[in-house]
């Protein structure tokens, strides 16, 4: 008997595509259409307009709001740099000593003596835009501050996600089955794309947003947390885009599910490299680190762009395929979710499962064991 299973695209290697590089503020682009670029090449520069940050010094120093001013090391109106001493409170023998450093570059703008809150105005900052990829410039849109580059990437398709397209340096936090809590998120991960294990807890996601992490790649997520970032609904495929300040791609499903070996192995090879992440499309693009990719990029023509907009045709399910021994498969559903392996046998007759349901069972050989699962709970991996 012929058994069909959905064919799921998980990893697509060496695809010629377009990526967008966008200035973070107003600025200039210094490339032209047709120009060949390399990852470190600066293709534009932007000035980030000033904002501010408020610190509750009364709470941080454990003093009354009126006492804050005399504990400040710098005066209002003075410039301060990130990590520089901001306030100091002497302690006693049993403790109480407090040392506060500035979390950002800026100017001490205003101290509210009634609340003990200090406002630090950011210094206008110039930010360079590197190309990030080997490629050919196709569009320079000065109005939007956007450059579209034809390049070669390896694409990873997650199951679902949230957040607009972002980029950053990929950093792997640990094993593919680790649980990521708040303590794993450090301030130096600012602008990074973090690869977690089987679950990012809610407090870890919040810590990522606070630390300025650009993206999160995880095997699983709690349904409640995902609902919180997707407008309270679980609809697949997603009908509305959303963004919570960082982009998240979930590779397997809900709950604690280790990232699949196929994806994790590829991501491990990109540690410390520049990557793109689009949570709303559940897509991760890993630019080719090889200059030799320029040959293929130059020789490949892509369909014309419309209105200079980057619309990616992405899809994960590519129809159904007949199950055969030797195929690489992935288990879905609530038992053995995300386990991957080689299909070694298909039963000829229906089996009554402990649940009372009947289906044809297949034997899958994973890296550490052999499991039997119903045909309905399989996907063929590409």
């Amino acid at each position: 008997m012929k058994h069909l299973a959905p064919l799921r695209m998980r990893v697509e290697k060496d695809v010629i595509t377009r990526v967008a590089r966008v200035l973070v503020g107003k600025g200039v682009l210094n490339v032209s259409v047709g120009q060949q670029v390399t990852p470190p090449e600066i293709i534009g520069m932007a000035t980030i307009s000033a904002g501010f940050r408020t610190l509750d010094l009364s709470t941080l120093l454990s003093v009354s709001p009126q006492e804050v001013e005399k504990l400040l090391v710098k005066k209002i109106g003075q410039r301060i740099y990130k990590g520089e001493l901001l306030a100091f409170k002497k302690g006693w023998l049993i403790g109480g000593k407090k040392v506060l450093t500035s979390p950002t570059d800026g100017v001490l703008d205003f101290l509210n003596n009634k609340t003990g809150e200090l406002k630090i105005a950011f210094l206008p900052k110039k930010v360079n835009l590197p190309a990030g990829v080997y490629g050919i410039v196709e569009v320079v849109d000065k109005e939007r501050g956007q450059v579209i580059i034809r390049t070669q990437v390896t694409r990873i398709y997650g199951m679902f996600g949230s957040g607009r397209s972002r980029d950053g340096i990929l950093h792997i936090l640990g094993k593919k089955d680790g649980l990521i809590s708040k303590s794993a998120i450090q301030t130096e991960y600012d602008d990074c794309v973090l690869v977690g294990g089987s679950l990012f807890f809610k407090d870890a996601i919040s810590a990522c947003i606070s630390a300025g992490v650009n993206g999160i790649i995880t095997g699983g997520i709690d349904a409640k947390d995902y609902k919180g970032m997707a407008g309270g609904r679980l609809v697949f495929p997603k009908k509305l885009d959303n963004d919570i300040g960082t982009s998240i791609v979930v590779c397997e499903g809900f709950g604690s599910v280790p990232i699949g070996t196929d994806i994790f192995e590829i991501l491990s090879g990109y540690e410390g490299k520049f990557v793109f992440i689009d949570g709303n499309k559940a897509l991760i693009s890993l630019p080719s680190p090889l200059s030799s990719s320029l040959v293929k990029i130059k020789n490949t023509k892509l369909p014309e762009l419309q209105n200079n907009d980057l619309i990616l045709d992405v899809g994960q399910i590519k129809g159904d395929l007949e199950l055969k021994s030797g195929l690489k498969v992935r288990v879905v559903g609530n038992s053995y979710l995300g386990e991957q392996g080689k299909l070694v046998a298909i039963n000829d007759s229906l089996t009554l499962l402990p649940s009372g349901a009947r289906d044809y069972l297949v034997t899958v050989e994973t890296a550490r064991r052999k499991i039997q699962v119903p045909v309905a709970n399989l996907e063929i991996m590409v």
């Binding site: 349904a223 499903g253 709950g255 609530n334 649940s355 009372g356 349901a357 289906d359 709970n377």
Partner: protein
């Protein structure tokens, strides 16, 4: 992404079901966040079938709440008389409509029927005594009648219903539920109730639809 068929394909609001409501059908009660992840994976991978008995119990609980949420709403008939009844319950014709594809995921027809009774009939306000009798229909391109449901109305505690079907006698006590085989297309029954009524009478005889399931007598409702 093509839609893959599954037990819950007929519902597009599964994510709106309260976890407390699903948990109320389960013993032991699982952690609510685990239940929420389980349901979310059902929505994400609709084609997957349950492997274990506890998973099947969770599926049936989700189905109860999904049916309840998508069951007929009070006042619906008044406002939308032309549109008829609900896809799972035809109140006018007193039919429970079970999509035949549900049997691919829950092959036990009795368990499936019980889920429909729990969700759609048990706490339903009865407007007339005709709603003590329902026909069970498996819906597909051609519908198949598989049996009937009797909902005797007991007056207080200690009610008993004595039933005769195909020359056999059965006794159903208040609070209990019984499945009586009745494989013919139509079966004649005779009943007598102590401390209760069925179809407005303490004692009567009439014909009901039979089928491969038979006659379900549910004495659980007050």
């Amino acid at each position: 992404m093509p839609r893959l068929t599954g037990l819950f394909d007929s519902f597009d609001n599964l994510d709106q079901i309260s976890m407390e409501a699903i948990a109320s059908w389960l013993k032991p009660v699982p952690q609510l966040n685990q239940l929420e992840d389980y349901l979310a994976n059902k929505i994400l991978y609709p084609q997957a079938i349950s492997l274990t008995e506890p998973d099947m119990q969770i599926d049936l609980s989700i189905l109860r709440e999904a049916l309840r949420m998508n069951g007929p709403k009070p006042g619906f008939q008044k406002n939308n008389a032309l549109l008829g009844d609900n896809p799972f319950l035809n109140v006018t014709l007193r039919k429970i409509l079970i999509p035949v594809k549900f049997l691919n995921f829950v092959p036990d027809l009795m368990s499936l029927t019980l889920v429909f009774i729990d969700a759609l009939l048990l706490s339903r306000e009865k407007k007339d005594y005709f709603q003590d009798l329902w026909t069970i229909v498996l819906t597909n391109n051609i519908d198949e009648i598989v049996g009937s449901i009797l909902l005797p109305q007991f007056d207080g505690s200690g009610g008993v219903m004595n039933l005769e079907l195909q020359s056999k006698n059965y006794e159903i006590r208040q609070g209990n539920l019984m499945l009586v085989p009745c494989p013919k297309d139509r079966c004649e029954i005779a009943y007598k109730l102590q401390k209760g009524k069925l179809l407005g009478k303490k004692e009567n005889a009439f014909e009901i639809y039979g089928g491969k399931l038979g006659l379900v007598i549910d004495g659980r409702s007050a």
